[in-house]
């Protein structure tokens, strides 16, 4: 593939560890050739998050959605196994799953009536002649499956590359962070009712960068902090603002995290006065249960730290004042579709669930007090990139001059871009 990017000694980025300067070419956000190469080298080789097992809890449940540029069905078949299928009839190609979610014993193509069970096996069609007797017998007219589907702690991923390694190897140190998310429940986490599907007029990698960017918060989100200040009891009373700082870690294979103290309430499990005395009882019980299951140290980390987790290439899990799974699909160089849901313990107390869903929206989502301003920033960046070829590079150097990276450094973006560069410039 002929990419218009200038190849230097480090590939398509400039990773100058002598002078602590890290540069990314702005054409990576604007070039159709780059997006085509990303579809081939990233979205067709990496493990891509598809769904959470709690979205298909019963046999014959399914969801249909865009995943890695494909249209997929993720289904639990009549034996309880999780399957991924391409949402396209083996006959003439029509999408056989037309609802975003459902429960069906079979998927019936609306075009000619070819019928598939929830494992993708072709089980019937309406004509009684015109095909040899054994035409459908050997499975060659079944729905096609992605090369791999695998599940880690209820997070379902697919991979379209036959030669791919295992999911757990791919996740590398990010698996520990999925554990921290999954360990917030004794019996399992669930995606709650209601999803947020929206879009941005920006390149998908801008949202990767923004989703774990501690540096932008005080500027972009000044009005959100005004809101917190104006809200009685929204902060923990003993909170020391100098504790927020936190750390940033590279987790391997392009994954990264920022982990930092939480000034606000966390449904699992940090009480704030806004939640009242009853809330205090419920949240302290949650904390005690965490201590019992995981010990003091890990329980404190689960309960009191925030985490913005990036899993390469397009999964973000923000474990902050609520827990969101956010994934996004590039449609064109300057337009992406985003899907976000709220994740919570299945056994959550109704009061805590109420705080969670209320809290989620104070910051997150397309009408939160912060996300729309992020969208605006990313769109301003995308528009700013029209000033090429005169203005060529983005700078992502913050924190390169120190060994241990702070929560408002840019190591997490460098981790992403180094992996992106390896895959794209190989």
């Amino acid at each position: 593939m002929n990419m218009p990017l200038d190849r230097g000694p480090d590939g398509f980025i400039r990773d100058d560890r002598q002078n602590n300067e890290f540069l990314v070419p702005r054409q990576a956000f604007t070039s159709d050739e780059v997006l085509a190469a990303e579809r081939e080298r990233i979205f067709s080789t990496c493990w891509i998050y598809a769904a959470h097992a709690s979205e298909i809890p019963e046999n014959n449940d399914y969801v249909s959605r865009k995943v890695g540029g494909r249209e997929l069905i993720i289904a639990r078949d009549s034996d309880g196994n999780i399957n991924a299928m391409f949402n396209t009839c083996s006959h003439r190609g029509a999408m056989v799953g037309r609802e975003p979610k459902g429960n069906n014993k079979a998927l019936v193509c609306p075009y000619h009536g070819w019928t598939f069970n929830m494992a993708g096996k072709m089980v019937g069609q309406p004509a009684d002649s015109g095909f040899p007797d054994d035409f459908f017998a050997d499975g060659k007219k079944d729905l096609t499956h992605p090369a791999h589907v695998d599940v880690y702690r209820d997070f379902i991923f697919v991979n379209f590359d036959r030669a791919a390694g295992t999911l757990v190897d791919y996740l590398a140190d990010a698996a520990d962070y999925l554990d921290i998310v999954a360990d917030q429940s004794a019996i399992g986490m669930e995606v709650t009712e209601g999803w947020q599907e929206y879009s941005m007029d920006a390149n998908w990698k801008l949202l990767v960068e923004n989703s774990a960017d501690g540096y932008h918060a005080i500027t972009t989100h000044a009005s959100y902090f005004d809101y917190l200040q104006a809200t009685n009891g929204a902060f923990r009373t003993d909170f020391n603002p100098t504790d927020v700082g936190g750390r940033c870690y590279s987790l391997g294979n392009g994954h990264a995290v920022i982990e930092y103290g939480a000034p606000w309430g966390r449904p699992v499990a940090q009480w704030v006065p806004q939640w009242g005395d009853e809330g205090k009882v419920a949240v302290e019980k949650l904390k005690a249960d965490l201590v019992e299951r995981h010990g003091e140290e890990r329980a404190a980390r689960i309960a009191e730290k925030n985490r913005n987790i990036l899993i390469f290439p397009n999964l973000v899990i923000n474990d902050i004042m609520a827990l969101t799974i956010r994934t996004f699909q590039p449609i064109s160089t300057d337009y992406m579709e985003i899907r976000a849901v709220s994740l919570a313990p299945k056994e959550e107390h109704p009061d805590v669930r109420r705080y969670r869903q209320y809290n989620f929206l104070e910051f997150l989502g397309p009408a939160g007090f912060a996300t729309p301003d992020d969208v605006e920033m990313l769109q301003l960046c995308q528009m700013g990139y029209q000033n090429m070829p005169e203005v060529v590079w983005n700078d992502i150097s913050k924190g390169m001059n120190r060994a241990e990276n702070m929560g408002d450094d840019e190591l997490q973006m460098r981790s992403f871009w180094r992996r992106w560069n390896e895959l794209m410039s190989a």
């Binding site: 975003p100 009712e193 999803w195 809101y227 809200t231 989502g365 397309p366 007090f369 729309p372």
Partner: protein
């Protein structure tokens, strides 16, 4: 409560729309009672319960006031400079009225222009209580008649 006519209700709804469209945010939030809610439920589950489901907006009075205040600030970047907003309200019905409250329903199209133009098609229910010669809003629930927030991307204005 008196037996209100549709005309009286429409006058009030148009007044609220005018305050939003002219960015009179303080006057807008003053239309609400102190136990008010302002809600946008999930697109695919318009009847969902705000206490269990993930909404798009789930504001109590405190938060809707803060939402209005935020929109007056330059640091609310997405709405600075302010977009042009225009509400079109029609199909107004009085669903029920009692001594305490009147429940109304209407259809609404809201245009927001900044760079491009976004269109929000919705149907709305409001619960109003008498306030002198006018009303106050105890509940406003805006249900989006969209497949997804695409290409709008966000609800950065008051619908």
């Amino acid at each position: 409560m008196a037996n209100y006519s549709r005309g009286q209700i429409e006058d009030f709804l148009y007044h609220e729309a005018e305050l939003i469209d002219s960015w009179q945010m303080k006057a807008w939030h003053q239309l609400y009672t102190e136990d008010a809610e302002y809600l946008i439920p999930p697109i695919e589950a318009p009847d969902a319960d705000k206490n269990t489901a993930l909404f798009i907006i789930n504001d109590d009075y405190h938060r809707l006031v803060q939402r209005a205040i935020r929109l007056t600030k330059k640091s609310a970047h997405v709405e600075w400079p302010h977009s042009k907003v225009r509400h079109m309200i029609n199909n107004v019905r009085i669903v029920s009225q009692s001594a305490e409250a009147v429940n109304v329903g209407y259809n609404q199209v809201v245009y927001r222009s900044k760079r491009g133009t976004d269109t929000f098609i919705c149907h709305v229910t409001q619960t109003l209580i008498a306030d002198g010669d006018s009303f106050k809003i105890r509940s406003k629930r805006v249900m989006l008649d969209l497949h997804a927030l695409r290409p709008q991307g966000q609800v950065s204005i008051i619908l």
